[in-house]
């Protein structure tokens, strides 16, 4: 039963390329290397932002801000952690800021009520499966709102830990490192998040 979440993050570098060499090349001003570095991680960064923020515009802003920060500050990267951890510290900090602001502003949720029932606006912007699945569409409409409500009840930090563990497939030790906390604190955060969601959603059978 124990399992890793699907879609674990992995850099998509060519096996021929050594990441440390690539980073050093970027630090020397090699723009090809910078492009390769971005492309190794940009899909997983965008996936994290889209799933976490459920807003195309916010995800796009996070993507740009994160990689621009990398571009500006790559000289300060000293290899005292992995590049992945360093990048994800940047990305998660930006995302947490967005989530906190959203908590204050009470922004419009991704799932909205329409005269025809609840509708997840983001469903229209994801990659469409080769063959549309009507059952999945129906499921999205009926259940999506409840799940969004449950996730909305988490604190930004609980939300982040849950997202990184469940959807990005990161280990809790790595999550703690990214968020500047201990593995134990990340465990507690994950426990609180799942308890809250199970309390909110009841049993999905």
């Amino acid at each position: 039963m124990a399992q890793d979440a699907p879609g674990a993050v992995g850099a998509r570098l060519s096996p021929k390329l050594d990441e440390a060499s690539l980073i050093r090349a970027v630090q020397r001003g090699d723009q090809d290397a910078f492009e390769q570095l971005v492309r190794a991680y940009d899909q997983s960064v965008l996936r994290l932002a889209v799933n976490l923020l459920r807003s195309q515009e916010d995800a796009r802003d996070v993507f740009q801000e994160a990689f621009l920060r990398v571009f500006r500050s790559i000289d300060s990267f000293r290899f005292d952690c992995s590049f992945h951890t360093w990048l994800y510290r940047i990305v998660t900090n930006i995302c947490l800021d967005y989530l906190r602001k959203r908590k204050v502003r009470k922004e419009e949720p991704a799932v909205v009520d329409t005269p025809e029932g609840p509708l997840d606006r983001m469903n229209d912007f994801q990659e469409e499966a080769p063959h549309a699945d009507p059952e999945r569409n129906l499921w999205n409409v009926q259940i999506g709102q409840r799940i969004e409500g449950a996730l909305g009840g988490l604190t930004p930090r609980e939300r982040m830990v849950f997202e990184l563990r469940h959807y990005q497939g990161l280990r809790l030790r790595n999550i703690g490192e990214i968020l500047g906390t201990s593995e134990e604190a990340a465990k507690n955060c994950l426990f609180r998040a799942t308890q809250k969601m199970r309390a909110e959603l009841g049993d999905f059978q």
């Binding site: 399992q3 723009q31 499921w139 969601m197």
Partner: protein, 317 residues
């Protein structure tokens, strides 16, 4: 291990975060405790439900993000900024080409160069001596020449054994600036909006032009791009530029075709929003047709709503 501690460990167990000995103890407890086994099953069901919520960003969104990043980096790189970043030539033109030719590997630069050459013919005409126009041409410097290797082969001269012949394609980069309402500048941007090798340039051109859709050539270009461009991001931009003209029969005709035939739901959503903002009787047949065949829930609902607002029947008989 008691029920209280198991409750706390179930999420960690599910995510494979328990040490092997704790995992064994927990499994033994689950075998004998129905209440905890139910909790574990509940955790699994919750996880399965959450899996189905996961979204994969579309290729178009990723392309737009990369494009926006490229533009932002361009702005930063065009200002001398970091001592460590003083690359060969300027950063962005090369980044821009390679960013939009991702799968071509070593061939991307020659292709990119040929795209620039194609534009070069246009700029040469526009910037020939004596050509009028309030735009300016930046001076050329040696760094503005892009070279790519066309071929490498042994030299044919037998008197020089071991010599090789390298054929280079060189493209000169020029910077032209001017107002978009200047005819020559606009012609250049219109040409760039058709650059088949570079969706990034097409997107950027359409983005610039969409604010000038009162011009007839620009509107024609936008209609062409929304119907023909292979990149959904470009089609969306073009559609955005046509929103002010959804009362125009020609625009409505094209948008109706887009609504019926575009294979990207985001574009069909934008089309249905634009069309139903000014729904008229001429749209009834098209909307009924869309309701019958459309997979996308939002598009179908918008069509149904528009038909109901017009007191038209939703189905065809």
């Amino acid at each position: 291990m008691n029920c209280e501690s198991v409750t706390k460990l179930i999420p960690l167990y599910f995510y494979g975060e328990l040490p092997p000995d704790e995992e064994d103890s927990l499994e033994q407890h689950l075998d004998t405790c129905a209440a905890c086994a139910h909790q574990a099953e509940s955790q699994r069901a919750l996880s399965a439900a959450l899996d189905r919520r996961e979204m994969q960003p579309s290729a178009a969104l990723l392309a737009e993000c990369r494009h926006d990043l490229m533009r932002a980096v361009y702005r930063q790189a065009s200002v001398p900024r970091r001592a460590g970043f003083s690359p060969r030539g300027t950063l962005v033109p090369h980044w821009g080409l390679s960013a939009w030719l991702p799968s071509l590997g070593p061939w991307r630069m020659p292709l990119g160069a040929s795209a620039l050459l194609a534009l070069g013919f246009i700029t040469a005409r526009l910037t020939a001596p004596g050509a009028a126009g309030p735009f300016s041409l930046a001076s050329l410097t040696p760094e503005n020449v892009i070279s790519s290797v066309r071929s490498v082969q042994p030299a044919h001269d037998d008197s020089r054994p071991g010599e090789v012949q390298i054929v280079l394609d060189e493209t000169r980069r020029r910077v032209i600036s001017g107002q978009l309402n200047d005819t020559n500048i606009q012609r250049l941007v219109l040409a760039a909006a058709h650059d088949e090798n570079n969706p990034g340039v097409r997107w950027e051109s359409v983005d610039l032009l969409k604010g000038h859709s009162d011009s007839s050539p620009v509107r024609e270009l936008l209609l062409n791009r929304v119907a023909e461009d292979p990149n959904p991001g470009v089609r969306l931009k073009a559609l955005d530029g046509l929103k002010a003209y959804t009362g125009d029969p020609e625009v409505r005709k094209v948008l109706a075709q887009v609504l019926l035939h575009d294979d990207y739901p985001g574009v069909r959503i934008a089309a249905v929003d634009a069309l139903t903002a000014h729904a008229g009787d001429d749209m009834v047949g098209i909307l009924q047709g869309v309701v019958q065949k459309e997979d996308n829930t939002y598009v179908r609902r918008r069509c149904v709503k528009a038909l109901q607002d017009m007191n038209a029947s939703v189905g065809t008989f």
